[in-house]
């Protein structure tokens, strides 16, 4: 049985750490990236099964990252996590599988991840 790997992309270090800790305690394998460009590197290394993506980030934002991801032929599902009020709208824009709106709690995050993540092989 392979562990499910989740890539957490957010420019706020504390958010990354918190989200990672939440996922790890639930038994997920976690990779982190601080922006879209960083995430593209990590992507090739770790081949995540799911991407938790903040939208407003420096260097390469969520939209740019999603477009590049698709261009490279990856079909990895994305869960948008944002503080914006139009989280649902942004999620639709990049054809994300789901979204969680900040501030989200433990249950919200895990529920979204479980709904989207592929069944563990």
């Amino acid at each position: 049985m392979r562990e499910i790997t989740i890539l957490v992309v957010d420019d706020e270090a504390d958010i990354r750490a918190t989200v990672s800790a939440m996922l790890e305690i639930e038994g997920y394998d976690v990779a982190e990236a601080s922006n879209g460009a960083d995430a593209l590197h990590v992507l090739e290394e770790r081949r995540p099964d799911l991407i938790l993506l903040d939208m407003r980030m420096p260097i390469l934002d969520g939209w740019g990252f999603a477009a590049e991801l698709r261009r490279r032929g990856h079909r990895t599902p994305i869960v948008v996590m944002t503080a914006a009020r139009d989280a649902a709208h942004w999620a639709a824009e990049i054809a994300a599988a789901a979204f969680v709106a900040k501030p989200f709690g433990f249950e919200d995050l895990i529920a979204a991840v479980e709904r989207v993540s592929p069944p563990a092989a």
């Binding site: 706020e12 504390d14 918190t18 800790a21 939440m22 420096p58 900040k102 501030p103 989200f104 709690g105």
Partner: protein
């Protein structure tokens, strides 16, 4: 009936009709000018009547009759002279000499016409040419000096005078010089003179309407855009100029009522509001009585302000209240250095303009209401934006606090004996502090937004402000380098707010300097300005962002994503406070890297005197010319 007889009859009807018209008006609106018109047309009508009577009664060439006719004829130029005096400035001696000369000619008509007709004719021609010519010229000049319907009527009068004099002179010359033989000329010319007089002195209503139309159109065209002018003083001056232009007057003046106080405010020559008691000056009377006022001699009617009237060439003032739906908005007055030539036209026009001005003022006040509603909408929109941005910025730290707290809860639930997650706890504490800072910043901004206009400005030595900031940092173990001048630097400030600005700048300077070098603070006073410089050794502000960092919610791109809190309100708050002190704030690159934030506010003199109270009213021994100051040419 021959053509000549027909012309004779027309002449007779015309002049007797004119006499009746001016007499009727003189009885209705007695004034010196209207009685002088009666004198003019009375004398001519008298000549016509006597000549006709002599014909009918077959009195023949009775010397006394000829004497009376000649006297009446000689009165006409004298009446013209008097009319000139009524309508424009005529040297006093002209009128003083005119009377006796008329008397001499009158006597000559009785005693000399029979004995020495030539002599009389020469004297009469000289009289008509001299006095009549002078009058025609003076009317012509008066016509040029006026505008609108008055100008048209005055032109007609000047032509009438010229033609009338020509007719008489030709008639006399016909007799005097045998080679001159123009049988019907005097009658024909006199007919045209009569028609001109008719147009000038008693134009029918339809001609008046046609003549007024261009002035009104002009006034309306000039005033149509006024409701959109935001500066009320400019709008008032524009209406005044348009009104003065339509009348060809020296100027016009608008006094506006002030809610709740018995004053009228006027725009003076410098373009500032000045207030006077609402019954002061002749316009004040029109306002108080709520009816039009005609002051043919303002200085005589209101001797208290004679000097003001004289200075503004306001011999005659006509004023009409600006009132709508019983709301007293103010008063419009037009003034000139001559009597109104045709006062009924001027009154009609000024009342119309006052009504129009009332409409304009109403439209303006509606426009102002609309603008303030729009401003309120805009501020509501900003508030909405503000809340939305604030909520956004609160969500991130809240996510961390909530997430970490839930993690702790889970860990404890799973294994109560497990060691506490020190990293998670410090993360939580850090983000909770950030939340606290954000909330404080938001509340500050909110408070400033609501109360930035009610600051208590007091003269305070700015050195004490810097000293207080320095001491506070010193207590925290941070020794700022503060440079202040030796002399007191007095600024008119709201001390806690102003200190907040300096504090915020110093805090930023420390926050964004990673090298640990401390910021420097400097105060200098120069040319009535106090200048406070806060210099840091940080990363500096990119050039293209130097203006925007003072905008709301703006954070320089090179500090975004750092661990420092802030939602981009600090400098915005600083700017608002500095601007409320009539000051400016900007950032410059500091030599050797970093930035210098510059705050400049006016440095008040320590012994600044209080400005004059706003409700100053002129006393009788201090007549201010301001109330009527308006450019004469519009």
């Amino acid at each position: 009936m021959t053509a000549l007889e027909l012309i004779d009859v027309a002449n007779q009807v015309l002049f007797i009709g004119l006499f009746a018209a001016v007499l009727w008006r003189a009885l209705k609106q007695p004034s010196r000018a209207s009685w002088d018109m009666v004198l003019l047309f009375g004398s001519i009508a008298g000549v016509v009547f006597l000549a006709r009577a002599a014909e009918v009664l077959q009195l023949g060439e009775q010397p006394w009759l000829i004497g009376v006719i000649l006297l009446l004829l000689a009165i006409a130029p004298y009446a013209m002279l008097r009319l000139v005096g009524d309508f424009s400035r005529t040297p006093r001696w002209v009128l003083l000499v005119g009377g006796p000369v008329l008397a001499i000619i009158g006597v000559l008509g009785f005693v000399a016409f029979g004995a020495a007709p030539r002599l009389y004719e020469v004297v009469a021609i000289a009289w008509f040419l001299g006095v009549g010519g002078y009058a025609a010229l003076a009317f012509g000049r008066a016509a040029l000096a006026t505008r609108g319907i008055t100008q048209r009527r005055m032109t007609a009068v000047a032509f009438g005078t010229l033609l009338f004099i020509a007719a008489i002179v030709i008639a006399f010359a016909d007799v005097l010089v045998e080679t001159v033989d123009l049988p019907a000329a005097p009658q024909v010319i006199s007919l045209f003179a009569g028609l001109s007089f008719f147009l000038g002195f008693a134009p029918p209503a339809w001609i008046r309407r046609a003549w007024r139309e261009p002035d009104l159109r002009n006034f309306l065209e000039r005033s149509i855009h006024l409701p959109t002018i935001t500066d009320e003083r400019r709008a008032v001056v524009e209406i005044q100029n348009a009104a003065a232009g339509a009348f060809g007057a020296s100027g016009a003046s608008i006094g506006l009522a002030v809610a709740g106080r018995p004053v009228l405010r006027y725009v003076n020559r410098a373009g500032d509001w000045v207030e006077y008691a609402d019954d002061a000056f002749i316009p004040g009377r029109a306002y108080r009585q709520q009816q039009r006022v005609v002051a043919l001699d303002a200085m005589e009617l209101d001797p208290e302000h004679a000097a003001v009237y004289e200075q503004n060439l306001a011999t005659t003032i006509i004023a009409a209240p600006i009132t709508t739906d019983e709301r007293r908005l103010g008063v419009l007055s037009v003034y000139a250095d001559r009597a109104p030539i045709f006062v009924e036209d001027d009154l009609w026009l000024i009342e119309l303009m006052a009504a129009h001005t009332a409409l304009l003022l109403e439209a303006r006040s509606h426009a102002t209401t609309t603008n303030s509603l729009r401003a309120r909408e805009e501020s509501a929109r900003l508030k909405e934006e503000f809340l939305s941005a604030a909520a956004h910025d609160l969500r991130t730290p809240l996510t961390v606090v909530l997430g970490q707290a839930e993690l702790l809860e889970r860990r404890v639930a799973r294994d109560p004996a497990a060691p506490p997650d020190a990293v998670g706890i410090s993360r939580m504490v850090r983000e909770a502090r950030r939340l606290r800072d954000l909330v404080t910043e938001l509340l500050d901004a909110q408070r400033l937004e609501m109360g930035s206009e009610v600051m208590d400005l007091e003269p305070i030595d700015l050195r004490t402000v810097l000293e207080s900031v320095r001491r506070r940092y010193h207590d925290q173990g941070i020794d700022l380098k503060v440079t202040t001048p030796a002399d007191a630097a007095i600024g008119s400030i709201d001390e806690p707010r102003f200190e907040q600005v300096i504090d915020n700048l110093v805090e930023n300077a420390i926050k964004y300097t990673s090298s640990g070098m401390l910021p420097e603070v400097e105060l200098a006073v120069d040319a009535g300005e106090a200048r406070i410089l806060v210099t840091d050794h940080g990363v500096g502000v990119p050039e293209e962002e130097r203006d925007r960092i003072f905008d709301r919610f703006y954070r320089a791109t090179n500090v975004q994503g750092t661990t420092e809190s802030g939602i981009g309100l600090g400098l915005y708050i600083c700017r608002r406070i500095v601007e409320a002190h009539a000051g400016r704030i900007w950032v410059e690159p500091a030599p050797g890297g970093g930035s210098t934030f510059v705050v400049v506010i006016p440095a008040a003199e320590a012994a600044a005197s209080n400005p004059a109270p706003a409700d100053w009213k002129p006393s009788s021994n201090d007549p201010s010319p301001d109330a009527f100051e308006v450019a004469a040419d519009a």
